[in-house]
């Protein structure tokens, strides 16, 4: 009887909190969006599932050893931890704050106490430490993305870079938005948090995760989810803005065919980019360094087996762990917060402003270059969201003129946007990190 009672007492059903129910529901929404609506499924399926796993009551899958001791420990271990952390009250909430602010050596001591009492890191917490806390996963994804990226269209017309630059205005406008909401007393974001939220407008998942790990790790879940969700929304968010800011005639502009780009140029490009980053903005060097490394492996032609692995087995493995790890921070007390709502709203604004900036910059460039060299529809691709944003440009181009294939022309600003937002990330880390 006692045993049956204990099963019931420790079951999920009798321990479920409202927060967990809501977060499990959020996990299902992400799975629904990923599977039924095809919203960035490669990331949102693992994130959604990880979010559900993280919120299973009593399982502690997403907690560190010390957190598990806090939540499931008996009086002895809590007393021991409260002495260690210098908590007068012995209250768990107080201890969690003390632990979060503790020196690294004290954290290690608390972990030893938890382990001695039989509490260990949950599986998802281990994945989170290795994939995200170390910074490795976003960098390895960026290496794989580099190995998948063809810079040919950008090299054929390097001025497209300006479109990738302009679209980053969305990032910084959002920072101002977050700061403004705080000034007005509506939200409460620090400058670090504002910067991490802004990067959602960069439309680049790994960059957003990398920046928020460094500037605002407690917002990681909301930022990563927003970033991937909005990247998936690109085909819905961008077209109205693009139509609003362009005339029918502009949308009909047919661009001249891109010149042939030689193998050697493609090999040299990642090296030129790496050198510029090294000389001007070392803070962006890890991210763009790995990106250039992946791209060099792709283009150099002598390490195809490494390039293939970076594009397939390795990036897939890292994606699984990264997704589950991001999911592991989708816990109620971090996610169900007014901040998350603010992040969602600011994120979509960032996208809209980035799209508009790209289109307007394209119009400016067009008028400076005689008026019909550039179809302004490709400006929106500067936000990145490769290759979705470029496909949107292509689609709107075809709508205006069924012979107008803009895909290749839009790939230039599209990959420039990846570089642009990585540079923006470096600047933010440099200034407020």
């Amino acid at each position: 009887m006692e045993a049956l009672l204990s099963i019931w007492r420790d079951s999920g059903l009798s321990n479920l909190t409202v927060g967990q129910v809501v977060m499990i529901f959020v996990g299902f929404i992400l799975l629904y969006l990923a599977i039924n609506k095809k919203f960035e499924p490669l990331l949102l399926v693992p994130i959604g599932f990880g979010g559900i796993l993280a919120n299973i009551p009593q399982a502690g899958i997403a907690y560190s050893a010390v957190e598990n001791a806090f939540y499931f420990g008996g009086p002895e271990v809590l007393t021991e931890l409260s002495h260690l952390l210098g908590s007068a009250s012995g209250n768990i909430a107080e201890m969690k704050v003390l632990y979060a602010d503790a020196a690294a050596s004290l954290k290690a001591a608390a972990t030893f106490v938890a382990q001695d009492n039989g509490y260990n890191n949950g599986m998802l917490y281990n994945f989170y430490s290795i994939a995200i806390l170390s910074g490795a996963a976003p960098l390895l994804i960026f290496m794989g993305v580099g190995a998948m990226t063809d810079f040919g269209p950008l090299l054929a017309n390097p001025r497209m870079m300006y479109l990738g630059a302009a679209a980053q205005f969305g990032i910084f406008a959002t920072v101002i938005g977050a700061v403004g909401l705080t000034t007005m007393g509506i939200m409460d974001f620090s400058i670090q948090e504002a910067a991490a939220i802004g990067i959602i407008g960069g439309a680049d998942g790994p960059t957003a995760i990398w920046v928020s790990t460094m500037l605002a790790p407690h917002l990681l879940g909301a930022i990563a989810v927003s970033a991937y969700a909005y990247m998936a929304l690109v085909p819905m968010v961008q077209p109205p803005i693009m139509r609003l800011l362009t005339t029918e005639r502009e949308r009909k502009i047919v661009m001249s065919q891109l010149r042939h780009v030689s193998k050697r140029e493609k090999i040299m490009f990642p090296i030129v980019l790496l050198l510029l980053v090294a000389l001007l903005l070392p803070a962006a060097a890890p991210l763009l360094g790995m990106f250039c490394f992946g791209n060099l492996m792709r283009e150099c032609g002598v390490v195809d087996r490494l390039s293939d692995t970076a594009q397939n087995a390795l990036i897939n493995i890292v994606t699984i762990f990264l997704g589950l790890s991001v999911g592991s921070v989708l816990v109620a007390d971090k996610f169900l917060d007014l901040q998350t709502l603010g992040i969602m709203i600011l994120g979509i604004i960032a996208f809209a402003i980035g799209t508009a900036s790209g289109v307007l910059m394209a119009k400016i460039m067009n008028s400076m270059m005689g008026g019909n060299a550039i179809n302004p529809l490709i400006g929106s691709a500067g936000v990145s969201a490769v290759p979705m944003a470029a496909r949107v440009s292509n689609k709107l181009g075809l709508e205006a003129n069924p012979q107008n294939f803009l895909l290749m022309h839009a790939m230039g600003p599209n990959v420039a946007g990846v570089i642009g937002s990585a540079i923006a990330a470096g600047v933010m880390i440099k200034f407020v990190g």
Partner: protein
């Protein structure tokens, strides 16, 4: 609060400025690189007729090809089993 706003504004000014300066330099460096590379490289030759097709016109090659593929597929299926 005012301080936060001014931090945000300077982050925008310097950040956006840096992004534009950096990408401008990248345009210049890339264009220079392309020009240098193209000077040292002859125009690309017209691509030869697709090799693959030529190969497969040889019936002996075809048989060998089929043999190799059959083995590959066989392996692929076997790999799917097990574990």
């Amino acid at each position: 609060m005012d301080e936060l706003l001014s931090e945000g504004l300077s982050l925008m000014v310097y950040g956006m400025g840096f992004v534009i300066v950096f990408l401008t330099l990248l345009v210049i460096a890339t264009s220079a690189m392309s020009r240098i590379v193209m000077r040292f490289e002859p125009a690309p030759l017209p691509k030869a007729a697709p090799k693959a097709k030529t190969m497969s016109s040889n019936p002996a090659d075809d048989a060998q090809l089929i043999a190799v593929m059959t083995a590959a597929i066989h392996k692929f299926r076997n790999d799917r089993k097990g574990q």
